[in-house]
């Protein structure tokens, strides 16, 4: 993996910043949530205290602590915000709750719902009776051969009034009041102040009745009877002396609560039965914020606090439920996060008990939308997110640029290191980046030191041959002159062998020394070479003639252009070049092989080729053959080889501004050495 990629990966770790931001935002949300809880709880407590100081405004009857019992026929009277039309339908009441079934022992089903708008009590009674028994017209309370609904109400002063609803046909009716006649028989008289509407349906009938408040106390009995005696539902005041209680909301409490609350909060006061006494405010306040806030909140998906475990708020319209309510009615203030009824909307609820004379008489229940928090958090997080993403992007770009710069420098250094030792063994001592003060600069300087030492070593090796040949010459001369003297002193024949052998040895040493110093001598003679214009073709033909004499075993062919080929150069050096190429070709050419020397005029150059039959040059050696001191020969012969021959070829070729290349013949049956020499 390249450094650039590595640093890029490192740069990606800055993505931890947005992650940390999310964590922070989550913490922030929790803290905000806590503080919202505390503040709402405090508000609830304050309200509860304020309300407990004026119980008569909170409770219809502050002393009434009766418990709600649906089995007894207790009814919660829903507050109605508008006067409903008497039409037998309750849809215009605006009450979400279903009617309450009346207690029955006969399987006769009837359901009832109560509402009040301040002036009237409304009753809605729904009876399942598929057979309508019409009232015949001689309405009499003792007669019960028709479908009827009996209603007994206990007034504030304790007196009771009994009424019944019956009709011959669907339509508006008035209640019949039951009065005790003189002969101990009850009489029915129409009570026009109690209006009702009898609606016949496929399942039975509905009665929607409107009763002035003055008729109403806190208790009532409702009984629905079938005209054919098939059953009844509900209770009458004779069999059950305690009728169903009516639980009213407190008049004026809504307004009172309204003075306490702020926007976005809903306050509900409940009694000990958790029935609502008054409600004010609205949880869905207008939230400040941009309309496109939602679009930015995609990151909620992976950072939002999990709310699915929050309890669902009860959806009963007249009554509250939940942990907060339970706790508050037990005397403990409590706050809780819930999900709105039927939605995922977050709500914060807080409840505080209303204590009167040390007893819990009810509770204040506050609700607030939790979304406010989300909006606040989202705004903070989106900013944080944008900043950190920007920072991440910036750092990635900077890292990338930096990495590019670093890898460029290292690349330059690498290129320089790779080409520091040129093919002719010369060493370039200066490295790029060596002025850098960092590790790369140090590395570069390290390379420079290394190359300097390598150069010293190479120089030493380069001159070693010359030095050796020079230094060994004197001792060799001593040996040889001593042998000369020894011979002159007169030797016996048997001694003469040894002298001859010693002389042969010195002769070989001599040729070795000569070969060792050859490159140095050529370099020196190149320095002193005189350049003249001459005919290369003529030089070739005379030289090849000499080689044919010199190497009688070799077959040397010469191919030249028909006309003279003048070049500018040093003919002696070129003859040496040719010497080396021919010697090389002869060494590798098999006995019956042919050596071809060819001179061609090419684009701007003369190409001098020496081809020989024989083994091809191994591929790996192509570039190195012309290097100084490079020698790779399988067979060793008497002649010393120091790998200088082809080096000399290159020196001479380069002196003439040309090149020397080695290649294999296309058929693989030999080698080609090509020297190019520029035209004049």
């Amino acid at each position: 993996m390249s450094i650039r990629l590595q640093l890029l990966m490192v740069a990606l770790t800055t993505l931890v910043l947005p992650w940390a931001g999310c964590q922070y935002a989550r913490e922030l949300e929790t803290a905000l949530r806590d503080s919202q809880e505390q503040s709402l709880l405090a508000s609830a407590g304050t309200m509860a205290n304020a309300l407990s100081a004026q119980p008569q405004r909170v409770f219809r009857d502050p002393d009434d602590t009766a418990a709600f019992s649906a089995a007894r026929g207790d009814l919660y009277v829903y507050p109605l915000h508008s006067q409903p039309l008497l039409d037998g339908y309750r849809e215009d009441w605006g009450v979400a709750a279903d009617p309450t079934p009346l207690p029955t022992t006969t399987g006769y089903a009837a359901r009832v719902q109560a509402g009040a708008d301040g002036r009237y009590l409304y009753l809605y009674i729904e009876v399942d009776d598929t057979h309508f028994d019409a009232e015949p017209g001689d309405v009499h309370p003792e007669h019960d051969r028709f479908d009827r609904i009996d209603l007994t109400m206990q007034r504030q002063d304790g007196t009771r009034g009994s009424y019944f609803f019956a009709t011959g046909a669907q339509g508006p009716i008035a209640a019949q009041r039951i009065v005790h006649g003189g002969n101990d028989r009850d009489e029915a008289t129409e009570e026009p102040r109690i209006q009702a509407y009898w609606l016949q349906t496929s399942a039975g009938y509905h009665v929607e009745a409107r009763i002035p408040s003055s008729f109403v106390g806190s208790r009532l009995w409702i009984e629905a009877q079938d005209g054919r005696g098939n059953g009844k539902a509900g209770a009458d005041s004779i069999d059950t002396p305690d009728g169903g209680r009516l639980f009213f909301t407190t008049e004026g409490l809504n307004g009172l609560l309204g003075t306490f609350i702020r926007g976005g909060t809903r306050a509900t006061v409940i009694d000990t039965n958790a029935l609502k006494l008054g409600v004010a405010g609205n949880v869905s306040a207008d939230l400040p914020g941009d309309p496109d806030e939602k679009a930015e909140s995609w990151y909620r998906y992976f950072m939002a606090v999990d709310t699915s475990s929050f309890p669902q708020q009860s959806s009963e319209p007249g009554r509250l439920a939940g942990n907060s309510v339970t706790a508050a009615l037990a005397g403990q203030p409590h706050a809780e996060w819930v999900r709105g009824p039927g939605t995922q909307e977050l709500l914060l609820t807080a409840a505080a008990p209303i204590m009167i004379d040390g007893r819990t008489r009810g509770a204040v229940f506050l609700e607030q939308a939790g979304d406010q928090l989300l909006v606040l958090r989202d705004r903070a997080v989106s900013r944080l997110f944008n900043f950190t993403l920007l920072a991440t992007a910036a750092s990635v770009i900077v890292m990338f640029g930096f990495a590019t710069w670093i890898s460029l420098r290292i690349g330059r250094l690498r290129d320089a290191a790779e080409s520091a030792v040129s093919s002719d063994g010369k060493i370039r001592l200066d490295m790029p980046e060596s002025a850098g003060t960092d590790e790369i600069g140090a590395l570069s300087r390290g390379f420079e030191r290394l190359l300097a030492r390598l150069n010293e070593h190479t120089q030493y090796l380069r001159t070693l041959g010359g030095k050796l040949s020079h230094e060994l010459r004197t001792p060799l001369t001593i040996v040889r002159s001593s042998l000369d003297n020894l011979e002159s002193e007169g030797l016996r024949d048997d001694q003469r062998h040894y002298v001859t052998r010693a002389r042969d040895g010195t002769q070989r040493l001599q040729s070795i020394l000569s070969a060792l110093g050859a490159a140095a001598r050529v370099e020196e003679s190149i320095k002193q070479a005189e350049v003249v214009n001459f005919d290369l073709r003529e030089l070739l033909s005379s030289a090849i003639a000499a080689y044919r004499d010199g190497f009688p075993q070799a077959h040397i062919a010469l191919e030249t252009p028909p006309d003279p080929c003048f070049i500018r150069g040093a003919p002696d050096l070129l003859v040496q070049l040719l010497d080396k190429l021919i010697e090389n070709a002869v060494d590798f050419c098999p006995a019956a092989g042919v050596i071809t020397v060819r001179l061609e005029r090419t684009m701007g150059n003369y190409a001098l080729q020496v081809q020989n039959d024989g083994p091809p040059i191994p591929l790996a050696l192509h570039g190195r053959l012309f290097e100084s001191l490079f020698e790779q020969r399988q067979d060793r012969d008497d002649k010393p080889h120091f790998g200088l021959g082809l080096y000399i070829v290159r020196l001479v070729a380069e002196f003439h501004g040309g090149t020397a290349v080695a290649d294999n013949r296309a058929d693989g049956g030999g080698a080609i050495f090509t020297v190019t020499l520029p035209l004049i």
Partner: protein, 229 residues
Amino acid sequence: MKKSIAIVEDEPALRENYAAALARHGYTIKTYANRKTAMQAFSAHLPDLAIIDISLEDEAEGGFDLCRDLRALSAELPIIFLTARDSELDAVSGLRLGADDFLTKDVSLPHLAARVAALFRRIDALRRPGNAAEVVRRGALSIDAERMQTTWNGTPVTLSLTEFWIVHALARNPGHVKNRQQLMDAANVVLDDNTITSHVKRMRRKFQQIDPAFDAIQTVYGMGYRWVE
């Protein structure tokens, strides 16, 4: 009377070997290890011939200085440089300082003795009246083998002993190619090819100083040289 030869050579073994070989040929030998002792002796008494090594003890070019001083003492005294160095530059410097010959230490003792003998012969010949029979004439060239003197169009050409023998070998058989080995044999000297080449170059230059049109020594590449008339 025996000829006296002074050998100035700092390598004792070599010095003694040379001395022994030359003594065997009937010369009186004086040996010196450095320039100082040699110069002291020379100021008192000049030898008939001096063989000088170029580097003497701690003086890398002591032989050159000695040659210069000796030449100042005597213009005719034959001087041979004998050295382990074989660079072109040294040979040129030595000959320019007035040495009669420049030999590398590769030379064998019999060759050295032949050189010495030749030099003495040249000196003796110069002192005797001329012997026309020994003179080779090739056009403008005339070579007196006895005196080892060469003239071109009557003008003397100052050649070193090696150069003289090379010219002599070439001019005796005009048109014949002499290879390097033949030239070396003729000159009684062991030289590498480059040195022969530079000797030939130097000779050409010397002739060309007298006659810029001189072109008698021809290179036959890869083979050697020939004299053309």
